[in-house]
């Protein structure tokens, strides 16, 4: 069972004494039952806007009301945020810093709390994946780790699921992690399913690279699947695979010349064949990212690869000033019809997308961090050797760049993951004034 005692409810308890001054006689549980009968999310939100107590009642049942939020709306209004561990050297346990941004003047922190039960653990955690309102956190142990402990956490509602430890022989050293949630599944889930997710890890054994998946259906890790048909991914690269993008039940990571693709919605993880080359191999992992093209329907979306290029202004270079302008190049994984079979190929359809008014001294100062799949936003950081250090959000559709966090430290952040709310998180957040 999910632990529903989230930070929102904690906040509610904190406030409940002073602002229960409306004169409606209806008690909270009756109000909740009434709101649950509203079939239009706009009605629910207008109720939340009447007074603080009603607002709290709406926020408490955000997951219930989110069912009536139109999916397009939830998608269009997906917000993003950043969870990161502030420049702390691993493996020292660090306080995870979390902030998310919307039309507010500045981002504000979200506490990593599930209402008390796991707070200490969550505080010493490291984000390893995030999708659709959920974050996968690795719990960091004070002593040298004996086991890998992951949890799947919704910071907006406080729901948390601890995954079984992987210890001893089963503990992976370095690994990459992908998350599939109920929002990724097209066919409706059985109504008895309160939550659905799969967590995939990719890691190395002595002779081979292995996949293993946790499923919420069975509440356990499945069997280890070896990537036998292909060579082992080298350890350093595996540790830096970074964000995975999920499309059509397949998790993708950027490899050197192509992508690693693992089917995740079957009973066991299974590698999908990708074109063997097609993306530039000589870029560091900080200047490349996988993403998805925009498309109204999920079926229309395609996998794309983003990498960074620089133009150098010689005059500025000679003057020792930030001299490199930055542009992005996108390659789309497209189907080539030929010889009866559907061949896949990386195609570069667009020109350069320049990031306006931004200059860096060297490529080290620019870091692609995250591709927000729902909102089509790329998060990147710019280090201190630039004209404007900070964390930025680039909207691919509109080419608009927005500064999310101001500060010279952003360039050295580790473990940055982008966070997009699910519908429940969105409702909880807007209903939480």
């Amino acid at each position: 069972m999910p632990d529903m005692d989230g930070w929102l409810s904690w906040r509610r308890r904190g406030q409940s004494q002073e602002d229960d001054n409306d004169s409606t006689p209806l008690p909270d549980d009756v109000l909740a039952a009434v709101f649950a009968r509203l079939t239009d999310a706009a009605d629910v939100l207008r109720c939340a806007a009447t007074c603080k107590r009603w607002c709290r009642v709406v926020a408490k049942d955000a997951a219930v009301h989110a069912r009536v939020l139109p999916p397009e709306l939830a998608r269009r209004r997906a917000f993003f945020g950043v969870f990161s561990q502030l420049g702390l050297p691993d493996p020292v346990p660090g306080v995870a810093d979390a902030a998310y941004h919307r039309k507010r003047k500045s981002p504000y922190p979200i506490s990593l709390s599930d209402g008390g039960r796991h707070d200490a653990l969550l505080e010493h955690s490291r984000p390893v994946a995030a999708r659709n309102g959920w974050v996968v956190l690795e719990l960091v142990h004070a002593s040298p780790a004996e086991s890998l402990d992951l949890c799947v956490f919704n910071p907006m509602t406080g729901e948390i699921f601890m995954l079984p430890s992987l210890s001893g022989e089963a503990r992976p050293r370095c690994y990459a992690c992908a998350l599939l949630t109920g929002d990724d599944v097209d066919e409706p889930l059985p109504t008895s399913t309160t939550v659905f997710f799969r967590v995939l890890i990719v890691y190395n054994r002595y002779r081979f690279t292995a996949f293993r998946a946790f499923s919420s259906d069975t509440s356990r890790w499945g069997t280890e699947v070896s990537r036998s048909a292909r060579p082992k991914i080298d350890n350093v690269r595996l540790g830096r695979l970074g964000q995975s993008v999920v499309l059509g039940g397949v998790a993708y990571w950027p490899l050197r010349r192509s992508a690693l693709a693992v089917q995740l919605d079957g009973p066991e993880p299974c590698e999908v064949t990708m074109p063997p080359w097609g993306i530039s191999a000589d870029q560091p992992q900080s200047l490349r990212l996988l993403g998805v093209t925009s498309g109204d329907r999920r079926q229309q979306q395609k996998l794309c690869f983003v990498d960074v290029g620089f133009d150098v202004d010689d005059r500025l270079h000679r003057a020792g000033l930030p001299c490199r302008t930055i542009f992005l190049l996108t390659s789309v994984l497209s189907t080539i019809d030929g010889q009866g079979t559907n061949m896949l190929k990386w195609v570069m359809p667009h020109g350069r997308l320049y990031i306006p008014e931004m200059m860096v001294c060297s490529s080290d100062d620019f870091n692609l961090r995250w591709f927000c799949e729902k909102s089509g936003v790329i998060l990147f950081t710019v280090g201190q050797e630039s004209n404007s250090p900070g964390l930025y959000a680039l909207d691919i559709a509109t080419h608009k760049v927005q500064k999310v966090v101001d500060g010279t430290g952003c360039g050295s952040w580790r473990n940055v993951v982008g966070y997009e709310m699910d519908a429940a998180g969105y409702l909880a957040s807007v209903a939480c004034y």
Binding site: N21, S23, T50
Partner: protein, 186 residues
């Protein structure tokens, strides 16, 4: 010994007699008594069913201190009307969680039943239904109250429900911006 045994028998007989009665007497917070069919009470209210099964029904009127006479009258009225109405398949449901179970549309007579109530009477009735664990009546009353919210601006909702707006001007402006899509031009 003899006396004790006799007493036990008398107790037994009284219990049997009580079980044989086909109505129960309920007492409102202001001391008024109401009779209701035992069968209907047990079927429609989980709390009353529990009390009847547990033998904690008082012949002289079971105290329901939380419920005023007007609300209790409506509860009893609902139970009696319900006993007389043709049972429909929709009512034979065993759903427990009112938050997640699909809601049944009220029947015509139920609609009329709640429509004639004043706002205050309706609010009292929904609380009584909640207290007594009357799932069906809760469904009907909550449905009615949710109808009163639909399509209204926050101002109109505040007026209907007599809500004091405790947001600051700045908070309201922020909500308005954030939820622009949900607000009507009012």
């Amino acid at each position: 010994m003899e006396v004790d045994k006799g007493k036990g028998e008398a107790e037994e007989t009284r219990k049997v007699a009580e079980a044989d009665r086909d109505t129960v007497t309920l007492k409102s917070s202001d001391g008024k008594l109401f009779e209701v069919s035992k069968e209907a009470a047990a079927r429609l209210s989980t709390v009353l069913a529990g009390m009847i099964a547990g033998g904690s029904i008082d012949d002289n009127g079971t105290d329901l201190k939380q419920i005023g006479s007007e609300a209790l009258e409506n509860v009893v009225d609902y139970c009696n009307k319900h006993a007389n109405s043709i049972p429909s398949a929709a009512l034979i449901s065993s759903s427990i969680s009112f938050n997640t179970a699909p809601f049944k549309e009220p029947e015509e007579w139920e609609r009329k039943f709640v429509d004639r109530l004043s706002h205050d009477a309706l609010f009292d009735l929904v609380e009584a239904a909640n207290f007594l664990g009357m799932e069906r009546l809760l469904d009907v009353t909550c449905h009615k109250i949710s109808e009163m919210m639909k399509g209204k601006s926050p101002d109109q909702i505040r007026e209907v429900f007599n809500i004091k707006n405790d947001y600051t001007k700045e908070e309201l402006e922020e909500i308005r911006q954030e939820l622009a899509w949900a607000f009507y031009d009012d």
